[in-house]
Amino acid sequence: MLNKSAIGKESKVYSFYVDKTCIKNFAEALEDYNPMYIEDVDNLVRINPLKDPPQLSYGKDYAKKSRFGGIIMPPTFAHNFRAGKWELMIKDAGLELGKLLQGEEHDEYYRVVKAGETIYYKVKLTDIYEKPSPRFGKLEFMIIDVDCWDEKNEPVMKYRQVFVVKP
């Protein structure tokens, strides 16, 4: 049983420097060879040993010449903005990590984030609740909300995750 007194608890503010190389690694892991995420698509270094990347040719400095002026952060990169999350779920709410399963993801983006920016974020344990389950009797759920803002204190995005706790 999760500890409902953890509802409303927030982490401290964390920061994440959105780095070009991190973006490249992230895009490569998803095999998303978008030249807005990867500067040198013609010459990827970290290749999946079982699969070569497609030979693409966008030309040099595609991202720099684009309207964004450089490499941008893929929207789902925010998965990296996660410090403090497990502490809230495990230490405060009493979750057994092995029972965690992500049910849903809700992202809202206010603007494109560029490589080189530092993003600040804070994690909140918004809710813990149960729902009847035909299979297990009842299932526990946890809602996590993360707000992200930039160095000028302007919000850039936010995301919500709904987790299911395996019985």
Partner: protein, 145 residues
């Protein structure tokens, strides 16, 4: 020289469909994604823990991997920097060997103030035609006007 797709609001009709096939998912890819996202939850890369301790059949990919694939389908077809909102429900686990087919359908085309928006319903299925993901995204497209 290749160029990314540039799509304008006026070019899209309701009912327009997009798709993307990914996979086969490999353990190496799951490990790459764990490193790239900082999510080292053992159930995704540690087979002995996943099976022995967590009661799983095998390791399985992060739900966010599929979410990343949906985002790729949208940016590949509608352009980067267009997604305003994106949500998904992960309905079935994605395991190594799985081949995923994602589809998106424009269900609504509308304006909100100066923004020209489309709502896209998204779906993911594995090679057994079993749904793995269901979701919806709202994108803001540039206008020719």
């Amino acid at each position: 020289m290749m160029k990314l797709k540039e799509v304008f609001f006026e070019d899209i009709k309701e009912g327009f469909e997009v798709s993307l096939t990914k996979g086969p998912i490999t353990r190496t890819q799951i490990v790459q994604y764990a490193g790239a996202s900082g999510d080292f939850n053992l159930m995704h890369h540690d087979e002995r823990m996943a099976i022995g301790q967590y009661g799983e059949e095998s390791v399985f990919a992060h739900g966010m991997v599929s979410f990343g694939f949906v985002a790729q389908m949208l940016t590949d077809n509608f352009g980067v920097g267009t997604i305003r909102k994106n949500m998904a429900r992960f309905s079935w686990q994605v395991r190594p060997g799985d081949i995923l087919t994602f589809t998106g359908k424009v269900v609504k085309k509308y304006s909100e103030g100066k923004l020209k928006l489309i709502d896209v319903e998204t779906q993911g299925k594995n090679q057994y035609d079993h749904p793995t993901l269901g979701g919806k995204a709202t994108l803001a497209l540039p206008s020719r006007k």
